[in-house]
Subunit: 198 residues, 2 copies
DNA sequence: ACCTGAACACCGTTCAAGT
DNA sequence: ACCTGAACACCGTTCAAGT
């Protein structure tokens, strides 16, 4: 009875995805092995191949899910705070908060192993996240609250900054100075506002 | 005669380090295996254990070497251009150029696998690179050309930006918009100057 | 002091076979 | 349609043995 779901697991794909995230969270990207992800689910190490092309496709799926969540959260911050300068700051805060709250997702999203070029869905989700930033900038340019530089270039500049903070924080490279990441992000967003004002 | 150096290789430690970098450069961090690094040197896969504690110590050594080179190059840019606002920009350019020129080193330096906390030499080299940035900022604060914020905080902000550009460039995330990384870095540095001015 | 070769416990992937 | 189990070619690390 305990092994009733040995065959035809309800939603093995989702379960595998969930377990993969849990595994990376607890023991790092290197600990994500097919055996380790299958065992807690009571499934053989090759069961995964019915749902994903291979191990890297599993990682790409984690990354896709991550980008989808990230886009949702930054858009919510931007739209929920009135699409103004303050809302743009909250967008930056939301970005870094997402990375801190989901370091496993974030690491896979920007890791070496996952190539957006090989997975069209991942490329789409990644592009959507970036587009949210570009849109917020062009909106502010039409307002006259952001200088009329190339919006793509502005977006890359700001993306690099929040991405840099996120990566350094996840890699624990800000801890030696006992930095409050939230504070650093707020400081950076204030300085960025000066940098992109007309 | 061709196998003369089968025993007592002249400087196997250096050769292993070099081969490790070459391997990561050509085939990625995952391709760095003890077998793959030993074979081209005509040495068994376990020979490495005479010179490094284990595989992760080899990676840490690559990272240390990277930080040492990085510090040299940013200091040369800063000192060589007169320690002024322009020199500070060149420091930023030198940072990103280093990452582009040595992506293998850079990826290992900031990868998940290498923990500065476990290797004191790596921690020292990493701290020295960051200190070069802090010093350049306090120098400019004494000049009155940079606002008197907490220099550590300013340094983290700027580090995050150049680190973000470097990471995105290495991960090929700027290619879809056909970005000239050099141009983006110059743009970012100009905007950062506005952000940190008094 | 420095390196080898066998052994061990792992790994991703393929594939014929089972339900 | 979905999953298993054996097989294959890998992997890092340990350790007794060789020079």
């Amino acid at each position: 009875m305990a092994k009733k779901r040995a065959y035809h697991h309800g939603d093995l794909r989702r379960a595998l995805l969930q377990e993969a995230v849990r595994l990376i969270q607890r023991k790092g990207v290197d600990a994500l092995t097919l055996r380790a992800v299958g065992e807690p689910l009571g499934v053989s190490r090759t069961a995964l191949y019915r749902h994903f092309a291979d191990k890297s496709a599993l990682r790409a799926a984690v990354a896709s899910e991550g980008f989808r969540m990230l886009t949702l959260q930054v858009l919510e911050a931007w739209n929920g705070h009135g699409r103004n300068a303050e809302a743009f700051q909250e967008m930056g805060m939301a970005y870094v908060r997402f990375a801190m709250a989901h370091p496993s997702h974030y690491r896979v999203m920007f890791g070496e192993c996952v190539e957006a070029s090989t997975d069209p869905e991942l490329a789409r989700e990644g592009a959507a996240a970036f587009q949210a930033l570009v849109d917020a900038l062009t909106w502010q340019q039409q307002n006259g609250s952001v200088r009329p530089d190339n919006p793509l270039r502005l977006a890359q500049f700001i993306w690099a900054t929040v991405h840099g903070i996120a990566m350094l924080a996840i890699d624990r490279l800000l801890e030696s100075q006992q930095t409050d990441v939230e504070e650093l992000t707020r400081f950076a967003n204030e300085r960025l506002r000066i940098a992109i004002s007309v």
